[in-house]
Amino acid sequence: MTHDDPTPPPSSSRPLLEICDLNLDFGTPRGRIHALRNVSLDVPAAQVVGIVGESGSGKSTLAYTVMGLLAENADVTAGSILFEGRDLLTMTAQGRRSLLGDRLSMIFQDPMTALNPVRTIESQMIDIQHHEQGSRSEKRARAVDMLHRVGIPDPKNRLGAYPHQFSGGMRQRVCIAMALLVKPALLVADEPTTALDATLEVQIIHLLKDLQKEIGCSILFVSHHLGAVAELCDRVAVMYAGEVVEQGAVRDIFRNPAHPYTRALLECDPGRIRKSTRTLPTIPGEVPSLLGAKVGCIFRTRCQHAFDRCVQENPVEYRIGVDQVARCHLLGQERLVSA
């Protein structure tokens, strides 16, 4: 736990996005589902932060909360989301909308459904720039330029096409072009490569990385693919059942996972298995129901190392190394971050 920190030391200025102690419930006929519990996460300026976890861990819910796209039955019960120092959760709908598509933009999971099928790419890309100055032809020129940068061949002629005339990978490129066209400070990418095949996934990841460096924006990258996160992200947060169980610099988390869930997740990644095996490892058990109040560590039912304390008490964040925290009682001997 004592190795050189490869990432630049965290700057003293505030992070671009600060999620503090966020709690979110979904009201359902069967009761309240505590979909996010005590989630704290920072996205520093010009950095890529990954969120990983299995299905239903609350990754996408977190992304949707930041963008204000939650369903009507969602209810933020505590916490704040500070973007450039202003709380997104308390500002007016009008104020929030003026940030969307200007300082904040988003890429969605399924490029097949993220574009309006009855409108041309051109009209959608010009519409996107409604916060920007400039004439229609200037906006069109910007759209052509951005399509060119995301690798759409012959963008001038493709601009008039409809979404169905593009393949899946091309559509995701168009979606990325649209999201970056507004030069956002923060791009929220909700599993942007999940619906694509493996070769395309690598291309899209590299494209995102290049454009992120070029534009200098931050990215909140939601994925269940550890390889994609390792490739693209500077920092990573591991989510399990609505909690961030561990977070830190990508290199620390991947080399030195502290939480048993992170370790299990890494062991299940086919890309990291050295010896040839006929069966892929899995994490036994399933994600617990999030209905009702929970006491104790949420991962204890699947954890090999669970002991008495895990049942009685919610683990707090323990600091490991310089820039890595994990919620696990096994780390109780380490220095306490918060009590």
Binding site: R97, L100, T113, L115, P117, V118, D127, Q165, M178
Partner: protein
């Protein structure tokens, strides 16, 4: 996805040669659709150019003898007041067509707006609007029309109003269902993520997706409305005499069906032709736009 891939050359073609040209070529492949289209264009042209076609003043009584048989002077004979039936038939198409387009246009406009509000609005508003739609639809339309006209008195505006009210809920329900399906679609979320307001989303993104099926629905409703309009006239609840109208001609003629059957025939055939024409056209449009019914792709 397979169907999308298969559509691509067809749609490329449509874009290259102009969407309307491709639409006409597609329509010509369907024989009944072509026949329907020709009939509709012909009937519409006759209605528009009617004053130039008529051989006599259609409301002038005693231009000839009463109940005269067809002759060169009176192509379809005369009615019991000595009016020229041919001229009345030619002019008589204007009222049903006007009723059809005005009432269905109004019903479409109001129905789409209410349907989108129901689909995107709060749950209570949705339920309230649905209750209203279903209440209107639960009446048989001709009975509902008779009740309203008995209340308000027969006039062209009232007929249009009544038919618009009875047709509106059907369009509103289709628009509502489509809007609800779209509301959870990712590109609407994408649009919201870009800061678009609800009004903008509805007008720019939902409306174009909803309007296609509705236009087909309207074209299939035109014959029903022409029949209703004629039916109301026949029952004496339509336009007031002496305005020429197909239904009114039937009403005038049926008392003399034994002596002079040509009056009823002259009034009935245009109703049949118009109804058939719009039905064929509507069905062809439905087949063209419904991918499940496309055979040639």
């Amino acid at each position: 996805m397979v169907s999308f891939e298969a559509d691509t050359p067809e749609i490329n073609d449509a874009i290259d040669t102009g969407a309307f040209g491709a639409f006409l070529r597609q329509l010509c492949k369907n024989r009944l659709g072509t026949l329907g289209g020709v009939l509709v264009v012909l009937i519409a042209a006759i209605a528009v150019l009617a004053p130039l076609i008529v051989t006599h003043d259609p409301i002038q009584i005693m231009v000839g003898p009463r109940l005269a048989a067809p002759s060169l002077d009176f192509l379809l004979g005369t009615d019991q007041l000595g009016r020229d039936t041919f001229s009345r038939v030619i002019m008589g198409g204007r009222i049903p067509l006007l009723v059809a387009f005005a009432s269905l246009g109004g019903a479409l406009a109001v129905g789409v707006v209410l349907g989108l509000i129901a689909g995107f609005g709060p749950r209570w508003l949705d339920n309230l609007l649905l209750l209203i739609f279903d209440t209107i639809r639960s009446f048989p339309s001709i009975i509902f029309a008779l009740a309203i006209i008995a209340l308000l008195g027969p006039s062209l505006v009232n007929i249009i109003l009544v038919i618009a009210i009875t047709c509106m809920p059907g369009y509103a329900r289709v628009a509502r269902t489509q809007a609800q399906a779209l509301q959870s679609s990712e590109y609407i979320a994408a649009e919201r993520s870009m800061g678009a307001g609800t009004t903008r989303i509805l007008a720019v993104h939902v409306l174009p997706n909803v309007i296609g099926p509705l236009v087909i629905l309207v074209s299939m409703d035109v014959p029903a409305v022409i029949a209703t309009s004629a039916g109301l006239s026949f029952l004496g609840m339509g336009v007031r005499p002496p305005t020429p109208d197909w239904g009114a001609i039937l009403n005038d003629g049926y008392s003399y069906i034994n002596q002079t059957p040509w009056i009823v025939i002259a009034g009935g055939i245009p109703i049949i032709l118009a109804t058939l024409g719009f039905t064929f056209l509507g069905e062809a449009l439905r087949d063209m736009f419904d991918p499940k019914l496309r055979k040639d792709l």
